[in-house]
């Protein structure tokens, strides 16, 4: 290659649960280069002790998310050019709103605990010995259920939401979006229980419609509207059942 090698000025958060700080690295810039590649380059060539997490490399597993220049992102699908300005500066930190394990790897356990707590699990209404139910793909409930189904639980929305920051009980956008999918799934055997859970403390009513979740979701999903859907549904139910 005849072109002169350019470098990125990368500042990476190092540390663990107890303390940490940013450390600078100079990383060669390439034509096709993602943030994950930058981080990998540092680990492979500059500092072998750098910790981060990834698996699929293509935006399917949701394990590589980090804060990049202040915003949460999938690092495997974020091209350096999209985030590094003319000054070629990058600032990379572990995902917000989650405990840190080490360096860039956050502990996602609270996120999944809440996912489960929000009732984010199918309750069967049939068994493996029954035929698969005929469900029209265009039915209204199915449409609503489908809207959030492609969530890969990457926690980007969770990291973007300041309500999560302030309120540790808040279930957060992804878990609530999952609950919205479930209450619209006619196959689910116990939707009332899910409605109950999202109506309790920590539930959907804590959302302030900040919209950071929807804005940052790399999958173009819309947890904010799903949560609004839950608010409507729970309100309607509340009056129907008689307060």
């Amino acid at each position: 290659m005849s072109e002169q090698q350019e470098y990125l000025d990368v500042s990476v958060w190092r540390g663990d649960a107890s303390s940490g700080d940013y450390q600078s690295f100079r990383v060669p810039e390439y034509a096709s280069q993602t943030i994950l590649d930058v981080v990998s380059w540092i680990q492979q060539n500059a500092d072998p002790t750098l910790t981060y997490r990834f698996a699929c490399r293509v935006g399917m597993c949701g394990s590589c998310a980090m804060m990049v220049n202040g915003s949460p992102r999938w690092t495997c699908r974020t091209h350096v050019k999209k985030v590094a300005g003319k000054d070629r500066k990058l600032k990379i930190a572990p995902l917000r709103n989650l405990p840190v394990i080490k360096d860039l790897a956050a502990d996602m356990a609270p996120f999944f605990d809440k996912w489960v707590k929000a009732g984010g699990r199918h309750a069967p209404s049939a068994t493996r010995n029954d035929p698969i139910p005929q469900i029209k793909p265009e039915s209204a409930g199915r449409d609503a259920a489908n809207a959030g189904i492609e969530c890969i639980n990457c926690s980007v929305c969770y990291a973007a939401c300041d309500t999560v920051t302030g309120n540790p009980d808040y279930l957060g956008p992804a878990a609530l979006q999952r609950a919205w999918t479930i209450v619209n799934d006619e196959k689910h055997g116990n939707r009332d229980a899910v409605i109950e859970i999202v109506s309790a403390a920590g539930g959907c009513h804590n959302c302030h419609s900040m919209g950071s979740c929807t804005l940052h979701c790399p999958n173009d999903l819309d947890p904010m509207s799903a949560i609004a859907g839950l608010k409507r549904l729970t309100a309607r139910n509340f009056f129907k059942r008689g307060a």
Partner: protein, 111 residues
């Protein structure tokens, strides 16, 4: 920290306040324009059952609404939770209600 009851209380009180706030702002704009003097306003409000009910409900709604609002802000910014938080929001509700009631009395009852 908010459950559906608190949420609905806050939203419903907000809805109730919408006409009140609009009227209130309109009156103030009108008043400040010089169309009405303060004395005239008071002249009309005092002894009026309508304005008593108007401001009475306004104060009731705003007390509920603002107390829950304060509850949320305090909890999210200071991390206060549990019974201490409920105590605080209850107290602020009573404070709003008490001061508001006094003001309503002053504007609509006492002569």
């Amino acid at each position: 920290m908010l459950n559906i009851r608190l949420y609905l209380a806050q939203r419903i009180s907000a809805m109730i306040m919408v006409p009140f706030v609009i009227t209130h702002i309109a009156v103030m704009i009108y008043a400040i324009q010089g169309g009405l003097s303060a004395a005239e306003i008071l002249g009309r409000t005092q002894g009026s059952v309508f304005w008593f009910l108007f401001y009475g409900m306004f104060v009731a709604a705003v007390s509920v609404h603002a107390a829950i609002g304060v509850r949320v802000i305090v909890s999210e910014t200071t991390g206060l939770r549990g019974s201490a938080l409920s105590l605080l929001s209850g107290a602020s509700f009573l404070l709003f209600l008490f001061l508001g009631a006094r003001a309503v009395m002053a504007v609509t009852v006492s002569a």
